[in-house]
Amino acid sequence: MVHPTVAVLERNLALYRRLWLASAFSSFVLPVLFLVSIGIGVGGYVGTIGGVDYLAWIVPGVMASTAFQMAIGESTYSVLGDFRWVRAYHAMRATPVEVRDMVAGWLLYILIRVEIAAIVFLGITALFGALHSPWAVLTPVIAALVAMSAAAPVMAFAASIEHDSYFALLFRFVMIPSTLFAGVFFPVDQLPQLVRPLAYLSPLWHGVELSRAATLGVAAPWPIWAHAGYLLLCCAAGLTWAIAAFRKRLQD
Protein backbone atom coordinates (compact mmCIF):
# COMPACT_ATOMS: atom_id res chain seq x y z
CA MET A 1 0.00 0.00 0.00
CA VAL A 2 1.39 3.38 -0.98
CA HIS A 3 2.33 5.58 1.98
CA PRO A 4 0.19 8.73 2.15
CA THR A 5 3.33 10.91 2.15
CA VAL A 6 4.34 9.35 -1.16
CA ALA A 7 0.82 9.86 -2.53
CA VAL A 8 1.08 13.58 -1.67
CA LEU A 9 4.54 13.74 -3.25
CA GLU A 10 3.14 12.16 -6.42
CA ARG A 11 0.45 14.79 -6.65
CA ASN A 12 3.03 17.55 -6.30
CA LEU A 13 5.21 15.98 -8.98
CA ALA A 14 2.18 15.59 -11.28
CA LEU A 15 1.64 19.34 -10.97
CA TYR A 16 5.32 20.02 -11.57
CA ARG A 17 5.27 17.98 -14.79
CA ARG A 18 3.17 20.73 -16.36
CA LEU A 19 5.73 23.43 -15.85
CA TRP A 20 9.01 21.65 -15.40
CA LEU A 21 10.65 23.02 -18.52
CA ALA A 22 10.34 26.67 -17.56
CA SER A 23 11.30 26.06 -13.95
CA ALA A 24 14.20 23.72 -14.73
CA PHE A 25 15.53 26.36 -17.06
CA SER A 26 15.46 29.10 -14.45
CA SER A 27 16.70 26.88 -11.64
CA PHE A 28 20.11 26.29 -13.19
CA VAL A 29 20.41 28.85 -15.92
CA LEU A 30 20.02 31.65 -13.40
CA PRO A 31 22.84 30.52 -11.11
CA VAL A 32 25.06 29.97 -14.13
CA LEU A 33 24.38 33.53 -15.28
CA PHE A 34 25.31 34.66 -11.79
CA LEU A 35 28.55 32.75 -11.97
CA VAL A 36 29.48 34.18 -15.33
CA SER A 37 28.59 37.79 -14.54
CA ILE A 38 29.80 38.01 -10.97
CA GLY A 39 32.31 35.18 -10.78
CA ILE A 40 34.11 36.00 -14.01
CA GLY A 41 33.04 39.61 -14.61
CA VAL A 42 33.40 40.99 -11.08
CA GLY A 43 36.02 38.34 -10.31
CA GLY A 44 38.29 39.94 -12.94
CA TYR A 45 38.55 42.99 -10.68
CA VAL A 46 38.57 41.17 -7.37
CA GLY A 47 41.30 38.70 -8.26
CA THR A 48 41.74 36.15 -5.50
CA ILE A 49 40.16 35.80 -2.11
CA GLY A 50 41.63 33.54 0.57
CA GLY A 51 44.14 32.25 -1.97
CA VAL A 52 41.59 31.07 -4.58
CA ASP A 53 40.19 32.89 -7.59
CA TYR A 54 36.92 34.68 -6.99
CA LEU A 55 34.87 32.34 -9.20
CA ALA A 56 35.92 29.26 -7.23
CA TRP A 57 35.25 31.21 -4.03
CA ILE A 58 31.63 32.12 -4.84
CA VAL A 59 30.61 28.80 -6.48
CA PRO A 60 29.71 27.07 -3.17
CA GLY A 61 27.92 30.23 -2.00
CA VAL A 62 25.85 30.51 -5.17
CA MET A 63 24.94 26.83 -4.89
CA ALA A 64 23.79 27.14 -1.29
CA SER A 65 21.91 30.35 -1.99
CA THR A 66 20.22 28.77 -5.02
CA ALA A 67 18.95 25.97 -2.78
CA PHE A 68 17.90 28.57 -0.20
CA GLN A 69 16.00 30.70 -2.71
CA MET A 70 14.35 27.77 -4.44
CA ALA A 71 13.22 26.39 -1.11
CA ILE A 72 11.72 29.71 -0.05
CA GLY A 73 10.17 30.37 -3.45
CA GLU A 74 8.47 26.97 -3.51
CA SER A 75 7.16 27.31 0.05
CA THR A 76 5.27 30.55 -0.37
CA TYR A 77 2.55 31.03 -3.01
CA SER A 78 2.13 27.31 -3.69
CA VAL A 79 1.46 26.54 -0.04
CA LEU A 80 -0.83 29.50 0.60
CA GLY A 81 -2.60 28.75 -2.70
CA ASP A 82 -3.24 25.15 -1.72
CA PHE A 83 -4.95 26.43 1.41
CA ARG A 84 -6.81 29.41 0.02
CA TRP A 85 -7.61 28.92 -3.64
CA VAL A 86 -7.04 25.33 -4.68
CA ARG A 87 -7.96 24.00 -1.23
CA ALA A 88 -5.88 20.92 -2.00
CA TYR A 89 -5.06 20.47 1.67
CA HIS A 90 -8.77 20.48 2.50
CA ALA A 91 -9.24 17.78 -0.11
CA MET A 92 -6.45 15.72 1.44
CA ARG A 93 -7.88 16.33 4.89
CA ALA A 94 -10.99 14.35 3.93
CA THR A 95 -8.86 11.26 3.16
CA PRO A 96 -6.55 9.13 5.31
CA VAL A 97 -3.74 11.63 4.52
CA GLU A 98 -2.61 13.34 7.72
CA VAL A 99 -1.04 16.74 8.31
CA ARG A 100 2.44 15.27 8.63
CA ASP A 101 2.03 13.65 5.19
CA MET A 102 1.03 16.98 3.65
CA VAL A 103 4.09 18.72 5.10
CA ALA A 104 6.49 15.86 4.34
CA GLY A 105 5.09 15.41 0.82
CA TRP A 106 5.75 19.04 -0.03
CA LEU A 107 9.22 19.07 1.58
CA LEU A 108 10.19 15.95 -0.37
CA TYR A 109 9.01 17.62 -3.55
CA ILE A 110 11.19 20.66 -2.79
CA LEU A 111 14.08 18.34 -1.97
CA ILE A 112 13.83 16.65 -5.36
CA ARG A 113 13.74 20.00 -7.13
CA VAL A 114 16.72 21.31 -5.18
CA GLU A 115 18.77 18.16 -5.64
CA ILE A 116 18.32 18.16 -9.40
CA ALA A 117 19.42 21.79 -9.55
CA ALA A 118 22.34 21.18 -7.17
CA ILE A 119 23.69 18.19 -9.06
CA VAL A 120 23.45 19.90 -12.44
CA PHE A 121 25.09 22.99 -10.98
CA LEU A 122 27.87 20.87 -9.48
CA GLY A 123 28.55 19.33 -12.91
CA ILE A 124 28.69 22.73 -14.61
CA THR A 125 31.00 24.23 -12.00
CA ALA A 126 33.29 21.21 -12.28
CA LEU A 127 33.63 22.07 -15.98
CA PHE A 128 34.61 25.62 -14.98
CA GLY A 129 37.36 24.04 -12.86
CA ALA A 130 35.88 25.67 -9.76
CA LEU A 131 35.87 22.59 -7.52
CA HIS A 132 39.16 22.13 -5.65
CA SER A 133 38.39 19.19 -3.40
CA PRO A 134 36.72 15.78 -3.75
CA TRP A 135 34.64 16.73 -0.71
CA ALA A 136 32.63 18.80 -3.23
CA VAL A 137 30.45 15.72 -3.79
CA LEU A 138 28.91 16.47 -0.39
CA THR A 139 27.56 19.86 -1.48
CA PRO A 140 24.19 18.44 -2.66
CA VAL A 141 23.70 17.09 0.86
CA ILE A 142 24.48 20.50 2.30
CA ALA A 143 22.09 22.06 -0.23
CA ALA A 144 19.41 19.66 1.02
CA LEU A 145 19.98 20.78 4.61
CA VAL A 146 19.85 24.45 3.63
CA ALA A 147 16.68 23.87 1.60
CA MET A 148 14.88 22.04 4.40
CA SER A 149 15.92 24.51 7.09
CA ALA A 150 14.51 27.34 4.96
CA ALA A 151 11.47 25.60 3.44
CA ALA A 152 9.99 24.20 6.66
CA PRO A 153 9.63 27.52 8.55
CA VAL A 154 8.54 29.37 5.39
CA MET A 155 5.82 26.74 4.81
CA ALA A 156 4.70 27.32 8.38
CA PHE A 157 4.63 31.07 7.71
CA ALA A 158 2.66 30.55 4.46
CA ALA A 159 0.16 28.36 6.31
CA SER A 160 -0.34 31.07 8.95
CA ILE A 161 -1.13 34.10 6.80
CA GLU A 162 -4.27 35.16 4.97
CA HIS A 163 -2.80 37.37 2.27
CA ASP A 164 0.10 36.93 -0.11
CA SER A 165 1.39 40.48 0.40
CA TYR A 166 3.26 39.18 3.45
CA PHE A 167 5.54 37.31 1.07
CA ALA A 168 6.92 40.61 -0.22
CA LEU A 169 8.09 41.32 3.32
CA LEU A 170 9.64 37.87 3.57
CA PHE A 171 11.51 38.35 0.31
CA ARG A 172 12.66 41.88 1.12
CA PHE A 173 13.62 41.48 4.74
CA VAL A 174 14.72 37.84 4.95
CA MET A 175 15.54 36.25 1.64
CA ILE A 176 17.36 39.06 -0.16
CA PRO A 177 19.38 40.27 2.86
CA SER A 178 20.33 36.67 3.59
CA THR A 179 21.53 36.18 0.06
CA LEU A 180 23.50 39.44 0.11
CA PHE A 181 25.04 39.27 3.57
CA ALA A 182 25.44 35.57 4.40
CA GLY A 183 28.90 35.15 2.95
CA VAL A 184 27.87 34.26 -0.60
CA PHE A 185 29.67 37.09 -2.40
CA PHE A 186 32.09 38.32 0.30
CA PRO A 187 33.27 36.98 3.65
CA VAL A 188 31.10 37.82 6.62
CA ASP A 189 34.26 39.25 8.31
CA GLN A 190 33.78 42.29 6.09
CA LEU A 191 30.58 43.13 7.93
CA PRO A 192 30.75 45.41 10.97
CA GLN A 193 31.15 43.37 14.15
CA LEU A 194 27.71 44.53 15.31
CA VAL A 195 25.67 43.00 12.46
CA ARG A 196 27.69 39.82 12.02
CA PRO A 197 25.47 37.82 14.43
CA LEU A 198 22.57 38.48 12.05
CA ALA A 199 24.43 36.55 9.37
CA TYR A 200 25.10 33.75 11.85
CA LEU A 201 21.37 33.48 12.46
CA SER A 202 20.64 32.74 8.82
CA PRO A 203 20.81 29.03 7.96
CA LEU A 204 22.20 30.15 4.63
CA TRP A 205 25.50 31.34 6.16
CA HIS A 206 26.08 27.93 7.73
CA GLY A 207 25.29 26.22 4.44
CA VAL A 208 27.58 28.57 2.52
CA GLU A 209 30.50 27.96 4.89
CA LEU A 210 30.00 24.18 4.84
CA SER A 211 29.79 24.15 1.04
CA ARG A 212 32.86 26.31 0.75
CA ALA A 213 34.79 24.04 3.07
CA ALA A 214 33.73 21.13 0.86
CA THR A 215 34.51 22.58 -2.59
CA LEU A 216 37.78 24.25 -1.58
CA GLY A 217 38.95 21.65 0.95
CA VAL A 218 39.50 24.30 3.63
CA ALA A 219 38.39 24.54 7.23
CA ALA A 220 35.02 26.15 8.01
CA PRO A 221 34.92 29.09 10.47
CA TRP A 222 33.06 27.01 13.07
CA PRO A 223 33.44 23.28 13.66
CA ILE A 224 31.56 21.21 11.08
CA TRP A 225 29.27 19.77 13.74
CA ALA A 226 28.26 23.28 14.84
CA HIS A 227 27.31 24.39 11.33
CA ALA A 228 25.51 21.13 10.55
CA GLY A 229 23.92 21.08 14.00
CA TYR A 230 22.53 24.58 13.53
CA LEU A 231 21.04 23.60 10.17
CA LEU A 232 19.49 20.46 11.65
CA LEU A 233 18.08 22.52 14.49
CA CYS A 234 16.46 24.92 11.99
CA CYS A 235 14.99 21.92 10.11
CA ALA A 236 13.56 20.38 13.27
CA ALA A 237 12.14 23.66 14.58
CA GLY A 238 10.73 24.54 11.15
CA LEU A 239 9.13 21.13 10.76
CA THR A 240 7.49 21.32 14.18
CA TRP A 241 6.20 24.79 13.41
CA ALA A 242 4.95 23.77 9.94
CA ILE A 243 3.00 20.79 11.27
CA ALA A 244 1.47 22.94 14.00
CA ALA A 245 0.57 25.70 11.52
CA PHE A 246 -1.01 23.26 9.05
CA ARG A 247 -2.94 21.58 11.83
CA LYS A 248 -4.20 24.90 13.15
CA ARG A 249 -5.29 26.04 9.70
CA LEU A 250 -7.16 22.83 8.93
CA GLN A 251 -8.85 22.22 12.25
CA ASP A 252 -12.06 23.75 13.40
Binding site: V2, T95, P96
Partner: protein, 306 residues
Protein backbone atom coordinates in the same frame (compact mmCIF):
# COMPACT_ATOMS: atom_id res chain seq x y z
CA UNK B 1 -30.59 -7.36 16.30
CA UNK B 2 -30.81 -4.33 14.02
CA UNK B 3 -27.80 -3.39 11.91
CA UNK B 4 -25.40 -1.00 13.55
CA UNK B 5 -26.05 2.58 12.38
CA UNK B 6 -23.34 4.14 10.18
CA UNK B 7 -23.84 7.45 11.91
CA UNK B 8 -24.84 7.68 15.53
CA UNK B 9 -25.03 11.02 17.33
CA UNK B 10 -26.40 12.01 20.70
CA UNK B 11 -26.59 15.57 22.05
CA UNK B 12 -24.00 16.60 19.44
CA UNK B 13 -22.82 20.19 19.84
CA UNK B 14 -20.45 22.35 17.80
CA UNK B 15 -19.49 25.80 19.00
CA UNK B 16 -17.23 28.37 17.36
CA UNK B 17 -16.37 30.80 20.14
CA UNK B 18 -19.67 32.21 21.37
CA UNK B 19 -21.57 30.97 18.35
CA UNK B 20 -23.36 27.63 18.62
CA UNK B 21 -23.59 26.15 15.12
CA UNK B 22 -25.00 22.79 16.16
CA UNK B 23 -27.05 22.80 19.32
CA UNK B 24 -27.50 19.27 20.62
CA UNK B 25 -28.76 16.98 17.87
CA UNK B 26 -29.59 13.26 17.95
CA UNK B 27 -29.19 11.25 14.79
CA UNK B 28 -29.00 7.69 13.48
CA UNK B 29 -28.40 6.78 9.85
CA UNK B 30 -28.77 3.14 8.83
CA UNK B 31 -26.83 1.39 6.05
CA UNK B 32 -28.40 1.85 2.62
CA UNK B 33 -30.37 4.92 3.62
CA UNK B 34 -30.47 8.17 1.71
CA UNK B 35 -30.59 10.72 4.48
CA UNK B 36 -30.94 14.48 4.13
CA UNK B 37 -30.37 17.61 6.17
CA UNK B 38 -32.77 20.28 5.00
CA UNK B 39 -32.52 23.84 6.20
CA UNK B 40 -31.65 27.42 5.28
CA UNK B 41 -28.10 28.76 5.21
CA UNK B 42 -26.67 28.90 8.71
CA UNK B 43 -28.95 26.16 10.08
CA UNK B 44 -25.96 24.02 11.09
CA UNK B 45 -26.11 21.51 8.22
CA UNK B 46 -22.55 21.96 7.02
CA UNK B 47 -21.10 22.02 10.53
CA UNK B 48 -22.84 18.71 11.19
CA UNK B 49 -21.55 17.29 7.93
CA UNK B 50 -18.00 18.37 8.74
CA UNK B 51 -18.17 16.58 12.06
CA UNK B 52 -19.49 13.46 10.34
CA UNK B 53 -16.62 13.67 7.80
CA UNK B 54 -14.19 13.72 10.76
CA UNK B 55 -12.58 16.99 9.71
CA UNK B 56 -14.16 19.00 12.50
CA UNK B 57 -14.20 17.87 16.11
CA UNK B 58 -17.41 17.95 18.16
CA UNK B 59 -17.45 20.42 21.05
CA UNK B 60 -19.50 18.00 23.11
CA UNK B 61 -21.86 15.07 22.80
CA UNK B 62 -21.45 11.61 21.42
CA UNK B 63 -20.56 10.80 17.82
CA UNK B 64 -19.80 7.42 16.26
CA UNK B 65 -19.12 7.02 12.56
CA UNK B 66 -19.06 3.44 11.22
CA UNK B 67 -18.97 2.45 14.86
CA UNK B 68 -15.72 4.33 15.49
CA UNK B 69 -14.73 7.44 17.41
CA UNK B 70 -13.81 10.32 15.03
CA UNK B 71 -11.43 11.87 17.56
CA UNK B 72 -9.23 8.80 17.93
CA UNK B 73 -9.80 6.97 14.65
CA UNK B 74 -10.13 9.80 12.13
CA UNK B 75 -7.86 8.39 9.38
CA UNK B 76 -9.41 4.93 9.69
CA UNK B 77 -12.93 6.35 9.34
CA UNK B 78 -11.99 8.73 6.53
CA UNK B 79 -10.56 5.78 4.58
CA UNK B 80 -14.14 4.50 4.25
CA UNK B 81 -15.94 7.80 3.62
CA UNK B 82 -16.57 9.64 0.37
CA UNK B 83 -16.73 13.39 0.89
CA UNK B 84 -18.10 15.88 -1.61
CA UNK B 85 -17.54 19.28 0.04
CA UNK B 86 -19.67 22.36 -0.48
CA UNK B 87 -16.80 24.15 -2.27
CA UNK B 88 -15.09 22.20 -5.04
CA UNK B 89 -11.48 21.54 -4.16
CA UNK B 90 -10.27 19.90 -7.33
CA UNK B 91 -6.73 20.49 -8.55
CA UNK B 92 -7.36 22.97 -11.38
CA UNK B 93 -3.98 22.42 -13.03
CA UNK B 94 -4.27 18.64 -13.15
CA UNK B 95 -6.28 16.82 -15.79
CA UNK B 96 -9.69 15.36 -15.02
CA UNK B 97 -8.21 11.87 -14.95
CA UNK B 98 -5.24 12.92 -12.80
CA UNK B 99 -7.64 14.42 -10.29
CA UNK B 100 -9.14 10.97 -9.85
CA UNK B 101 -5.89 9.00 -9.85
CA UNK B 102 -4.00 11.28 -7.43
CA UNK B 103 -6.96 11.20 -5.07
CA UNK B 104 -7.15 7.41 -5.31
CA UNK B 105 -3.52 7.25 -4.22
CA UNK B 106 -4.38 9.19 -1.04
CA UNK B 107 -6.38 6.11 -0.08
CA UNK B 108 -3.40 3.85 -0.71
CA UNK B 109 -4.70 2.25 -3.92
CA UNK B 110 -2.15 0.78 -6.31
CA UNK B 111 -1.41 2.64 -9.54
CA UNK B 112 -3.18 0.02 -11.66
CA UNK B 113 -6.23 0.05 -9.38
CA UNK B 114 -6.27 3.86 -9.39
CA UNK B 115 -6.33 3.88 -13.19
CA UNK B 116 -9.09 1.28 -13.29
CA UNK B 117 -11.26 3.24 -10.83
CA UNK B 118 -10.60 6.46 -12.72
CA UNK B 119 -11.89 4.88 -15.93
CA UNK B 120 -15.02 3.61 -14.21
CA UNK B 121 -15.71 6.93 -12.56
CA UNK B 122 -15.09 8.93 -15.72
CA UNK B 123 -17.88 6.90 -17.25
CA UNK B 124 -20.10 7.32 -14.18
CA UNK B 125 -19.62 11.09 -14.29
CA UNK B 126 -19.97 11.16 -18.09
CA UNK B 127 -16.62 12.85 -18.43
CA UNK B 128 -14.83 10.34 -20.69
CA UNK B 129 -14.44 12.98 -23.39
CA UNK B 130 -12.83 15.33 -20.90
CA UNK B 131 -10.42 12.83 -19.34
CA UNK B 132 -7.30 14.60 -20.58
CA UNK B 133 -8.56 18.15 -20.24
CA UNK B 134 -7.58 20.39 -17.37
CA UNK B 135 -10.22 21.06 -14.73
CA UNK B 136 -10.11 24.84 -14.91
CA UNK B 137 -12.18 25.30 -18.10
CA UNK B 138 -14.89 22.76 -17.16
CA UNK B 139 -18.45 23.95 -16.50
CA UNK B 140 -19.78 24.11 -12.94
CA UNK B 141 -21.86 20.98 -13.50
CA UNK B 142 -18.89 19.02 -14.83
CA UNK B 143 -16.70 20.07 -11.90
CA UNK B 144 -19.42 19.01 -9.50
CA UNK B 145 -19.75 15.63 -11.21
CA UNK B 146 -15.99 15.20 -11.04
CA UNK B 147 -15.98 16.07 -7.32
CA UNK B 148 -18.70 13.51 -6.70
CA UNK B 149 -16.90 10.91 -8.83
CA UNK B 150 -13.71 11.62 -6.89
CA UNK B 151 -15.53 11.04 -3.61
CA UNK B 152 -16.39 7.50 -4.81
CA UNK B 153 -12.83 6.53 -5.67
CA UNK B 154 -12.34 4.47 -2.49
CA UNK B 155 -15.70 2.67 -2.87
CA UNK B 156 -16.91 4.29 0.34
CA UNK B 157 -19.42 2.81 2.78
CA UNK B 158 -20.88 6.26 3.33
CA UNK B 159 -21.02 9.18 0.87
CA UNK B 160 -21.40 12.69 2.28
CA UNK B 161 -22.62 15.39 -0.10
CA UNK B 162 -22.70 18.98 1.15
CA UNK B 163 -25.10 20.94 -1.07
CA UNK B 164 -24.32 18.86 -4.14
CA UNK B 165 -26.28 20.97 -6.62
CA UNK B 166 -26.13 24.50 -5.21
CA UNK B 167 -25.37 27.00 -7.95
CA UNK B 168 -26.01 24.64 -10.87
CA UNK B 169 -28.47 25.23 -13.68
CA UNK B 170 -31.58 23.00 -13.83
CA UNK B 171 -30.18 20.71 -16.52
CA UNK B 172 -26.97 20.08 -14.62
CA UNK B 173 -28.96 19.46 -11.44
CA UNK B 174 -31.16 16.84 -13.07
CA UNK B 175 -28.17 15.00 -14.47
CA UNK B 176 -26.57 14.99 -11.03
CA UNK B 177 -29.75 13.75 -9.37
CA UNK B 178 -29.94 10.94 -11.87
CA UNK B 179 -26.35 9.93 -11.02
CA UNK B 180 -27.01 10.13 -7.29
CA UNK B 181 -30.17 8.12 -7.71
CA UNK B 182 -28.10 5.40 -9.38
CA UNK B 183 -25.76 5.33 -6.41
CA UNK B 184 -28.73 5.00 -4.12
CA UNK B 185 -30.08 2.11 -6.15
CA UNK B 186 -26.74 0.35 -5.83
CA UNK B 187 -27.26 0.48 -2.08
CA UNK B 188 -24.71 3.21 -1.29
CA UNK B 189 -25.57 5.10 1.87
CA UNK B 190 -25.98 8.78 1.02
CA UNK B 191 -26.08 11.69 3.41
CA UNK B 192 -26.69 15.06 1.88
CA UNK B 193 -27.46 18.60 2.88
CA UNK B 194 -29.59 20.86 0.79
CA UNK B 195 -31.75 23.92 0.97
CA UNK B 196 -33.79 22.79 -1.98
CA UNK B 197 -36.96 20.95 -1.04
CA UNK B 198 -37.26 19.36 -4.47
CA UNK B 199 -33.80 17.86 -4.07
CA UNK B 200 -34.69 16.44 -0.67
CA UNK B 201 -37.97 15.03 -2.03
CA UNK B 202 -36.21 13.45 -5.01
CA UNK B 203 -33.33 11.85 -3.21
CA UNK B 204 -34.01 11.31 0.48
CA UNK B 205 -35.72 8.37 2.13
CA UNK B 206 -35.63 10.23 5.38
CA UNK B 207 -34.64 13.70 6.39
CA UNK B 208 -34.33 16.10 9.24
CA UNK B 209 -35.28 19.74 9.05
CA UNK B 210 -32.70 21.92 10.80
CA UNK B 211 -33.10 25.47 12.01
CA UNK B 212 -30.83 27.44 14.30
CA UNK B 213 -28.60 24.43 15.00
CA UNK B 214 -31.45 22.19 16.09
CA UNK B 215 -33.49 19.45 14.48
CA UNK B 216 -37.06 20.72 14.29
CA UNK B 217 -38.64 17.76 12.49
CA UNK B 218 -37.74 14.35 11.22
CA UNK B 219 -39.32 11.82 8.88
CA UNK B 220 -39.76 10.79 5.27
CA UNK B 221 -40.59 13.64 2.89
CA UNK B 222 -44.13 12.27 2.59
CA UNK B 223 -44.71 11.84 6.30
CA UNK B 224 -43.36 15.32 7.01
CA UNK B 225 -45.77 16.78 4.48
CA UNK B 226 -48.62 14.78 5.97
CA UNK B 227 -47.79 15.85 9.50
CA UNK B 228 -47.01 19.50 8.97
CA UNK B 229 -49.03 20.45 5.92
CA UNK B 230 -52.15 19.62 3.93
CA UNK B 231 -52.24 17.66 0.66
CA UNK B 232 -52.71 20.80 -1.40
CA UNK B 233 -51.80 24.44 -1.21
CA UNK B 234 -53.46 27.36 -2.96
CA UNK B 235 -51.27 30.35 -3.73
CA UNK B 236 -53.25 33.53 -4.09
CA UNK B 237 -51.96 36.88 -5.25
CA UNK B 238 -53.98 40.07 -4.99
CA UNK B 239 -53.24 43.12 -7.07
CA UNK B 240 -54.34 45.77 -4.57
CA UNK B 241 -52.31 45.12 -1.43
CA UNK B 242 -55.38 45.02 0.85
CA UNK B 243 -55.07 42.57 3.76
CA UNK B 244 -57.14 39.65 2.61
CA UNK B 245 -56.02 37.16 5.23
CA UNK B 246 -59.02 37.85 7.43
CA UNK B 247 -61.46 37.36 4.60
CA UNK B 248 -60.10 33.87 3.96
CA UNK B 249 -60.76 32.62 7.46
CA UNK B 250 -62.42 29.24 7.72
CA UNK B 251 -61.34 27.95 4.33
CA UNK B 252 -58.11 26.49 5.64
CA UNK B 253 -54.96 27.56 7.45
CA UNK B 254 -53.87 30.92 6.03
CA UNK B 255 -50.24 31.98 5.76
CA UNK B 256 -49.76 35.53 4.49
CA UNK B 257 -46.34 36.06 2.85
CA UNK B 258 -45.06 39.42 1.62
CA UNK B 259 -45.93 38.70 -2.02
CA UNK B 260 -48.71 36.10 -1.77
CA UNK B 261 -51.10 34.30 0.53
CA UNK B 262 -50.86 30.55 1.07
CA UNK B 263 -54.03 28.68 1.78
CA UNK B 264 -53.63 25.13 3.07
CA UNK B 265 -56.46 22.84 2.04
CA UNK B 266 -57.27 19.17 1.61
CA UNK B 267 -58.93 19.99 -1.69
CA UNK B 268 -57.40 22.95 -3.50
CA UNK B 269 -60.13 23.37 -6.11
CA UNK B 270 -62.86 23.41 -3.48
CA UNK B 271 -60.93 26.08 -1.60
CA UNK B 272 -60.63 28.20 -4.75
CA UNK B 273 -64.40 27.90 -5.34
CA UNK B 274 -64.96 29.10 -1.79
CA UNK B 275 -62.63 32.07 -2.37
CA UNK B 276 -64.64 33.07 -5.43
CA UNK B 277 -67.96 32.44 -3.67
CA UNK B 278 -66.89 35.00 -1.05
CA UNK B 279 -66.56 37.53 -3.87
CA UNK B 280 -62.78 37.78 -3.72
CA UNK B 281 -60.93 38.31 -6.98
CA UNK B 282 -57.28 37.33 -6.71
CA UNK B 283 -55.08 38.41 -9.64
CA UNK B 284 -53.59 34.95 -9.80
CA UNK B 285 -54.48 31.54 -8.38
CA UNK B 286 -52.24 28.49 -8.27
CA UNK B 287 -53.26 25.14 -6.83
CA UNK B 288 -50.29 22.85 -6.20
CA UNK B 289 -49.26 19.80 -4.22
CA UNK B 290 -47.88 20.54 -0.80
CA UNK B 291 -44.07 20.41 -0.57
CA UNK B 292 -41.31 20.42 2.00
CA UNK B 293 -41.12 24.16 1.53
CA UNK B 294 -44.54 24.37 3.18
CA UNK B 295 -43.36 22.09 5.97
CA UNK B 296 -40.43 24.34 6.56
CA UNK B 297 -42.56 27.44 6.52
CA UNK B 298 -44.95 25.87 8.99
CA UNK B 299 -42.09 24.83 11.31
CA UNK B 300 -40.02 27.98 11.27
CA UNK B 301 -42.24 30.71 9.89
CA UNK B 302 -39.69 31.41 7.17
CA UNK B 303 -39.17 30.33 3.58
CA UNK B 304 -36.19 28.11 2.77
CA UNK B 305 -34.58 29.91 -0.11
CA UNK B 306 -34.31 33.64 0.31
Amino acid sequence: MPEQPLIHARALVKRFGDFTAVDGIDLDVAPGEAFGFLGPNGAGKSSTMRMISCVSMPTSGELRILGMDPVREGPKIRARLGVCPQLDNLDPDLSVRENLTTYARYFGLSKAESRRRADELLEFAQLQDKAGSQVEPLSGGMKRRLTIARSLVNEPDLVLLDEPTTGLDPQARHLLWERLFRLKQRGTTLVLTTHYMDEAEQLCDRLVVMDGGRIVAEGSPRSLIQTYSTPEVVELRFADGVDYAGKLEGIGRVDPLPDRILLYADDGDAAVSEVHRRGLTPSSVLVRRSSLEDVFLQLTGRTLVD
